[in-house]
C-alpha cells in the first residue's frame, strides 16, 4: 500500500500543506478496500472535495462491524475497547504496528513531552496484547528506563512505584489511566509520593464504566498535592482504541492539540455541520495515521471548538447522558 509509505514519511517530516491531498487519497483508498465504510458513505450520499467533508465513521461501528482497509487474512494485531458501555467491545484491526508506533513516538515528541524514565500504571503489551494503551506505553518505554506497576486488573503495585520514584536521580514521567491514579491516591492516602522536580504525570481514559466520578479539577488538585507537582505538570492524553494518534493538554483548562497529521472538526449536533469557533459540539477526528481502518472517526465526545485546530474537551462518557427516570435497557441486559 503506497499510501502507508507516504503517511509514514509525513509522520517523519510533516508537511501541513500536504494534509488535504493525503487525506483525500487515503479516503479513496479506504472506500475501495473497506466495504462497510463505503456502504456508509453511499448511504450518506456525500461528495467529498475537502478533508473536512470526509464522513466520520461512527465510533460505535467498531463494535458492530469489522472495519478493515486491508485483507482480513493479514490481520496481526487486534486492539479492543474496554467494553464498559454494555454493548460489547470495539475492535481495531491492524496488519502491522509500524504506523501506530511512529504516530505514538512522533506525536509525543511533537507535543514536546520529555524522554524521562517512565513509570507505567497500566499493563504491559504482554499482559494485555489487546490494549492499544498498553502498546502505546510499550512504544514510549522502549528506549528509556521504565517500569510497570500493574499486577492484575484493578491491582497496582504502589510500593514498587514509590521505590521507582525514590530511586530516580532526576525527573520522571508517570503515565496511566485516571482510574489507576485514583487507585494510587486511595491506596497511598496519607503517604505522599514526592516526584523529583520537573516530573510529569500523564493521565488518560476518564472513568468510563467504573461508577466512579471525580471532577478533573479535583483529581488534578489531589494529584498535585500527593505527588508534589504543579497542576500544569499534569497532562491529559486524549486518544482512543479506534485511533492511532493522540491529543495532549496540560493543566485543567488548557486546550488539547494534536500532531500535524491529525485534525479535529467540532460538529454542531443540532445542525450536523461544523460548529463555529467557541461553540460546543461533537469531536470528529481525521487521523492520517489510521491507515488500516478509517481515517475519519466521529466520536460522541463533546468539546468547545478552538482556534488552530485546538479544542477544549468537555465530556467523554456518552452514558452520562441524563435519562430522566427511564432506565437504559441495554445496561440491564448487560448486567450493569
Amino acid at each position: 500500500m503506497n499510501v502507508e509509505k507516504e503517511i509514514l514519511s509525513f509522520l517523519e517530516q510533516p508537511q501541513p500543506e500536504r494534509f488535504e491531498e493525503l487525506a483525500l487519497q487515503l479516503f479513496e483508498v479506504q472506500r475501495k478496500k473497506n466495504r462497510p465504510y463505503d456502504l456508509y458513505c453511499r448511504a450518506l450520499g456525500v461528495s467529498v472535495s475537502s478533508w473536512k467533508e470526509i464522513p466520520g465513521l461512527p465510533q460505535q461501528a467498531f463494535k458492530h462491524s469489522e472495519v478493515r482497509s486491508f485483507p482480513a487474512g493479514e490481520t496481526h494485531f487486534e486492539f479492543r475497547t474496554s467494553g464498559t458501555t454494555g454493548e460489547g467491545y470495539g475492535r481495531h484491526f491492524l496488519p502491522s504496528l509500524d504506523v501506530y508506533r511512529k504516530a505514538v513516538i512522533r506525536g509525543w515528541d511533537h507535543a514536546r513531552l520529555p524522554h524521562f524514565p517512565i513509570g507505567l500504571l497500566m499493563p504491559s503489551p504482554r499482559q494485555n496484547p489487546h490494549s492499544s494503551l498498553a502498546q502505546m506505553g510499550g512504544f514510549l518505554s522502549a528506549n528509556r528506563e521504565h517500569q510497570h506497576f500493574w499486577k492484575a486488573p484493578g491491582r497496582l503495585d504502589p510500593e514498587s512505584l514509590c521505590n521507582f520514584v525514590s530511586g530516580q536521580p532526576g525527573a520522571v514521567v508517570l503515565f496511566g489511566t485516571a482510574l489507576a491514579f485514583l487507585d494510587i491516591l486511595e491506596t497511598t492516602a496519607g503517604k505522599p509520593i514526592f516526584l523529583p522536580e520537573g516530573s510529569l504525570i500523564m493521565e488518560t481514559g476518564g472513568f468510563k464504566g467504573s461508577n466512579r466520578t471525580i471532577e478533573k479539577s479535583e483529581l488534578y488538585r489531589d494529584l498535585s498535592n500527593h505527588f508534589a507537582i504543579p497542576i500544569d505538570g499534569i497532562w491529559n492524553e486524549y486518544g482512543m482504541t479506534e485511533l492511532s494518534s493522540q491529543f495532549y493538554s496540560s493543566g485543567v483548562d488548557h486546550p488539547h492539540s494534536g500532531p500535524p497529521w491529525a485534525r479535529v472538526v467540532v460538529i454542531d449536533p443540532a445542525t450536523n455541520r461544523e460548529a463555529l469557533p467557541g461553540q460546543t459540539g461533537m469531536i470528529r477526528i481525521i487521523d492520517l495515521a489510521n491507515v488500516w481502518s478509517v481515517l475519519a472517526i466521529q466520536t460522541q465526545d463533546l468539546a468547545w471548538s478552538g482556534s488552530n485546530g485546538e479544542f477544549r474537551l468537555i465530556g467523554r462518557d456518552p452514558n452520562a447522558l441524563p435519562r430522566g427516570c427511564s432506565r437504559a435497557v441495554d445496561e440491564i441486559l448487560a448486567g450493569r
Binding site: P58, A270, N272, S326, R327, A328
Partner: protein
Amino acid sequence: MKFPERVQAIADSARAFPWLGEITSQLLCDWVARELGVEFATSSWIRYGNGFRRLIPCSPILHIVSGETPHAALQSLIRGILVGSENWIKLPSTDLVEVRTFVDSLPKAIQPKLSKRLLPGWLESAATVVVFGSDRTIQEFASQVRPWQRFVPHGHKVSFAMLLGEWTKTEILGAIQDGSAFDQLGCLSPQFFLVKEQANHFAEQLARQLKSSSQVQIPLEAAAAVRAFREDWRFRSANDPAARLWESPDNSLAWTVLFDPGREFPRQPSHRTFVIKPFTASLEPSIELLRKHISTIGIHPVVPESIDLAIRFGAQRICPIGRMQEPALDWHHDGFPSLGSLVRVIDLEK
C-alpha cells in the same frame, strides 16, 4: 387543616398544572374513599372484623425528589397532603421550579418545607422516606433509614409497548403520544415498541405520521446522543438492509424511527426516538431479564392474552397504547398502595 379543605386546596393548586391530569375535589375524595375508606375523611374508627381500625398519617414524610421528575415529585406531595402528613421535600441541586410554584400556591398551613440540601434531622426524624432516583441514590438512603421508618423507593424503570394484533392509525397516533411526552425521559416512556404484525410497516407509517411534527429544541448532550444514534444506525442499516432508519427532514432532530429486527435491545437516546422491533419468541428471554425493572407496558389490543403476557413480563401497570404517560390519579406507583403506604393502622380490639 381539615380533610375537605386540604382536598380543595390541592384541586385549586393543581389547576395550573394540566400535565398532572384531571384533579378535582370529587376525584380526590373518591380516590381516598376507594383506597382508605370513606371514614378516613372524618378520622373516625371503623368496624374491622371483631374490632375497629383507624388510619393515621405516617408523618412527617420526607420526599427525596429527582431533577428530572417534577411530575412524580408533585404526585408524591399531593399524596402526602391528602393523607394529612407534614411534608418535607429535598429538592435536587438543579431545583424544580414546578414544585416551588405549586407549593407557593398552597395555603400556608399545608405548605411543605423545601430545601435543596438535606436539612439536619430530616432523615433521622421522618416517619416515611419516599425516594426517587437511581439505584445508587435509593441504596444510599436505604442504608440510612432506621427500622422504624417507612421506606418507599421509586427507582428508574423501563416501560415499553406491545402491539400483538392488527393495528390502525389510532395505535400509530397513540405511539406518538406515548413516545413524545416528557421528552421520552419518564419511567412511563416507552423505550421500544414490540409489534407482532407488519412491524416494518408500522415503523414506516409511524415515520410518515411524524412528518407533520413540529421542530423541538433539545439539550446539547441529548442532541449529540441522538445524532450519534442516527449515524450508528445509518451505518448499521447500510450494512444490513433488514434494519431501517427514518428521521425528521432537514437535519432536524425532531424525531427518529428505527426498525430493528435484531435480537438485542439497542441503547436509545430518548427525545422522540421510536425503536420498533418485530415481536418474536426469540426476544422473550431478554424481556424476562427486564422484569424486575418494568413499570408500564402499553398493550394493543387490550385482551386477556395481551394482559397475561404483560403480567408475565413483569408489568406494574398495563394500559392501552396512547395512555402510557397518563396514569390514573389513584394508580399504584411501582406497585405500592399510593396512599396506603403513607398511613399506619391502629387496631382497637374488644
